[in-house]
Symmetry: C2
Subunit: 210 residues, 2 copies
Amino acid sequence: MRKHDTLAIPAPPSNLQEDFARMLKDEEGADVTFIVGDKSFRAHRHVLAARSPAFRAELLDPTKEDPTKPVKVDDMDPVIFEALLYFMYTDTLPHGCDLEKNATLQHLFVVGVRYGLDRLATMCEGKLCQNINEQTVAAALTLAEWYDRVLLKNACIAFVSSQDVLDAMKETNGFKHLMTRYPGVMVDILKQNLPSSIGVRVIYGRIVFK
Amino acid sequence: MRKHDTLAIPAPPSNLQEDFARMLKDEEGADVTFIVGDKSFRAHRHVLAARSPAFRAELLDPTKEDPTKPVKVDDMDPVIFEALLYFMYTDTLPHGCDLEKNATLQHLFVVGVRYGLDRLATMCEGKLCQNINEQTVAAALTLAEWYDRVLLKNACIAFVSSQDVLDAMKETNGFKHLMTRYPGVMVDILKQNLPSSIGVRVIYGRIVFK
C-alpha cells in the first residue's frame, strides 16, 4: 500500500453550535414554553433534558399532569434566561452577553450551578476572579461561601490580603451582607495577614486571637 | 477598577458533543424511526432537520400523510447509517468507524454529499486522497468525477502521473468502470505526462493527439 499523503484537505470547522443555535432561534419543533418575567421563550425539552439534570427533572417528570403547560420561571431575569438557553444549545454564551457586567456574571454563575452546568459555572467563576476589586470582592466572597467555590474564595482572600482595600470593601453593601451571613470568613482574611504564630478563630460570632 | 487577573481558572472543555451523543443513544424523546436493512434506528427529527437540508425536506414535509411512519432507507449499509446519525448529533464519527477501510470511506463520502454535510464530505475526501494507491485510484477518480470534487481528482491524477502505476490500475474493476463512465479523464492523466506541445483530446470516445 503506497500512501499519497502530500495533499491535506482541511475539513471545515464544526458547525454543530451554529446549527443548534439556529434550531433554538427558529423554534421549529419546540415543545416547551417558558414564561420569564414579561417574556416567553420556546425550546426543545429533550435538548434541555440531555444537557442538564435539573431541566430533565423539571421537564420529563412523568407525574406532571399537563406536560404541555408553560413553565413559569419566577426568579430570573429574561436576559439571563435567554443566555442560559443559548448556552444549553451551544456551550457558549450569546454575543452581547456582557460578562464585564458583574451582576450578569453573578447571575449566570448561580444559574450554572443551579442547572448543573459545570462549564458555565466555572467559566463565570474564572471571570468573577478576574473582576475582583474593592466594590465586588465582598459579594464574590459571599457567593464563594454559599456555593462552596474554593478557587473564588481563595482569589478573594488573596486580593484582600495583598492590598490595602479593607477600608473600601467595608463601605460596600456586599460587605454588610457577607458579615451577617459569613462572619467566619474574616478569620480566613486575618490569617493571611497575621504572623503564623498568632492563632485566630471565631467564638460566638467574635474574632478571638490567641 | 483594579483587576485581579493572576488567577486563571480553565473552564472544563465543552461537553456538547458528549451530551448529544447520549441523547441519540438513549433515544429518549426520539420521534422518528429509520429502517435500514435489517436494523432500525430512532432519532429526533428536529435535530436531524437542523443539521441537514436533505433530512429537513424528508422529515418535515407538510404534505406527508403519516409523519410518524418509519422511514425506509433502501440504499445504505446500517453501519454507515449509524455513523451518519452519530455525525448528525456530534460532528464527529463514532469510535470504531474505520476510515482506513476504503469502502466505508467512500460510502461516508457519498452520504456526506447527499445529506449536505459538507464537513463530513470534506473529511472523507481528505482521507480518500491519503488512501490513494493502485487499487483505489480508479474508484476514487470515478467518485471525484461524479461528485465534481476537484481536490480528489487532482490528487488522483497527480498520483497516476507521478508513479508507474497505470498497469496495476488497469487491472482493477474500478478502472473498467471509470473508463466506461468517464473516458475523458484519461485525457487529464495523459496531459500530465506529455510535453505541453502535444495536444490531446477525446473525439467520439477515442483519444486523439494533435
